[in-house]
């Protein structure tokens, strides 16, 4: 979900003025094409042939808002929900492949995936409302490229890899390398994120995501933190990934924060180093949700709280 400050007109003005002009006499969408191909090749072909503005469409919870607010005027909508590979959730020898057009609700209803990646699901469960999660997808949450997207930090922490297809073929892209800035991705023109692969988890591993928001639901992260860590049999952290959201122009993978945990038993000293590294990684903006100082402080505290949950899950 995006909240965008823009011209919001009373909806009644659209009634009986269907799609040619609004009350101000401005032209509105008139010839947007809608296609719902059943294969990736067809989808890639449609996007490649379109010379105007095209949008890949899955849950629609961002694209429809952007259209409603006149932020975009697509010439072509490519609905990818009829493409089987984009709608599957498959476990393969302990690793998982999630189609990019699988909805949040579908993931929440998948008990095996919830058990395997509870931290990823912490993030998914926080996206929008029940209504929004009935449609919104992890692929869309990524490609909408909000720095505050809730499912992205835990997916980065999980070391998820996106499978991307486009006119030049198929390639794998690390989750951390897709969002480059607010609304900006490293995807090339005509590329589609097809699915995500999450690696097989070793024993004694756990992940978690927390966000800080004034409201408990229907809010946008002031800070988000995803942590994924692995312990050896003695309880020493052998590997960790820490990701922060909403504290920079894009979700961050913070190696220094992970290194604060690796080789320790995640005791008080490690926690202090984790908080310091998380805060040091922040380069947030000042906005109505939080000041630079506030976000920087909260990032450290939130990283500690997230680590506690990830640690508990790794031990259980």
């Amino acid at each position: 979900m995006v909240r965008v400050d823009g011209p919001v007109r009373p909806s009644v003005i659209y009634k009986d003025i269907p799609f040619t002009e609004n009350v101000n006499g401005e032209a509105t969408l008139t010839d947007m094409r809608y296609e719902a191909p059943e294969t990736l090749d067809a989808a890639v072909g449609l996007l490649a042939e379109e010379s105007g503005v095209a949008r890949v469409f899955a849950g629609g919870t961002d694209v429809m808002v952007q259209i409603h607010l006149d932020l975009i005027e697509p010439d072509l909508i490519v609905d990818v929900k009829n493409i089987a590979e984009m709608r599957e959730v498959v476990e393969e020898d302990g690793s998982w492949r999630i189609g990019a057009a699988v909805t949040g609700k579908e993931l929440m209803d998948n008990a095996a995936f919830n058990a395997a990646w509870p931290g990823v699901m912490d993030g998914v469960r926080l996206i929008g409302s029940v209504q929004v999660r009935g449609r919104a997808t992890v692929g869309g949450n990524l490609c909408n490229a909000s720095p505050a997207a809730d499912s992205v930090p835990p997916m980065i922490a999980a070391d998820a890899v996106a499978s991307v297809i486009g006119p030049n073929g198929r390639r794998d892209v690390s989750m951390a390398d897709i969002v480059t800035g607010p609304g900006q991705t490293s995807l090339e023109d005509g590329e589609i994120v097809v699915s995500f692969r999450l690696p097989k988890r070793p024993a004694n591993s756990g992940d978690a995501y927390l966000r800080f928001t004034p409201r408990s639901e229907m809010d946008i992260a002031v800070v988000g933190c995803g942590i994924n860590l692995m312990l050896d049999d003695g309880g020493t952290c052998t590997a960790a990934r820490v990701s922060l959201g909403a504290v920079a122009a894009r979700p961050l993978l913070v190696d220094d924060a992970a290194n604060a945990l690796i080789g320790t038993k995640v005791g008080d000293d490690a926690m202090e180093a984790l908080a310091a590294a998380a805060s040091a990684a922040c380069s947030p903006i000042d906005d109505k949700r939080g000041t630079i100082e506030y976000r920087t402080e909260v990032a450290g505290v939130l990283a500690q709280r997230t680590a506690v949950i990830a640690l508990e899950r790794a031990k259980s």
Binding site: V8, P18, L29, M64, D79, Q131, S216
Partner: protein, 158 residues
């Protein structure tokens, strides 16, 4: 683009429509089918006034394209009562005075019905989280929660 043929089931009835891709499902329901029970609040998925179910999944109809309804089964507030017999949730909203201006009520009812189908005995906390996507600016929600709990009790036969 030419309008597209859409064959959809709404409240159990089959409808054949021609939809422009720029029409939302909400536009189709209200402006094309005169089913004005479903309300438009924000038009951006924040308020839940336009809640309907699509193949049983609760969604905001303002964020669904009309053409996406092809082959789908849509349920709206108009299908909630059985003739003159109100759904228990509708009756309990009246009994508990769980509405004032009423603009959010169809969405709250549709969302509450979807909740009770998934969870017939929700806690107050579960109801509050489930209905977080339905904004009401009059009731303060408390009476809504009471009405849903009371309806749930009645529907469970408790």
């Amino acid at each position: 683009m030419a309008k597209q043929y859409v064959n959809t089931t709404i409240n159990g009835d089959s409808h054949e429509l021609l939809c422009d891709p720029t029409q939302t499902l909400l536009d189709v329901l209200r402006d094309q089918l005169d089913m004005t029970g479903t309300k438009e609040g924000c038009g951006t998925g924040d308020c839940g006034a336009c809640s309907v179910t699509m193949d049983g999944v609760l969604v905001c109809s303002c964020l669904v394209m009309g053409v996406e309804a092809n082959g789908k089964s849509i349920d709206t507030i108009e299908g909630m009562a059985d003739g003159d017999d109100l759904h228990p949730l509708q009756q309990k909203f009246i009994d508990h005075i769980a509405l004032q201006c009423g603009i959010c009520t169809p969405g709250l009812l549709v969302a509450s019905k979807a909740l009770l189908e998934e969870n017939p005995d929700p806690t107050e906390e579960e109801i509050r989280y489930w209905l977080a996507g339905n904004l009401c600016r009059c009731t303060g929600y408390h009476k809504v929660i009471e009405a849903v709990q009371d309806a749930a009790r009645e529907m469970r036969g408790a």
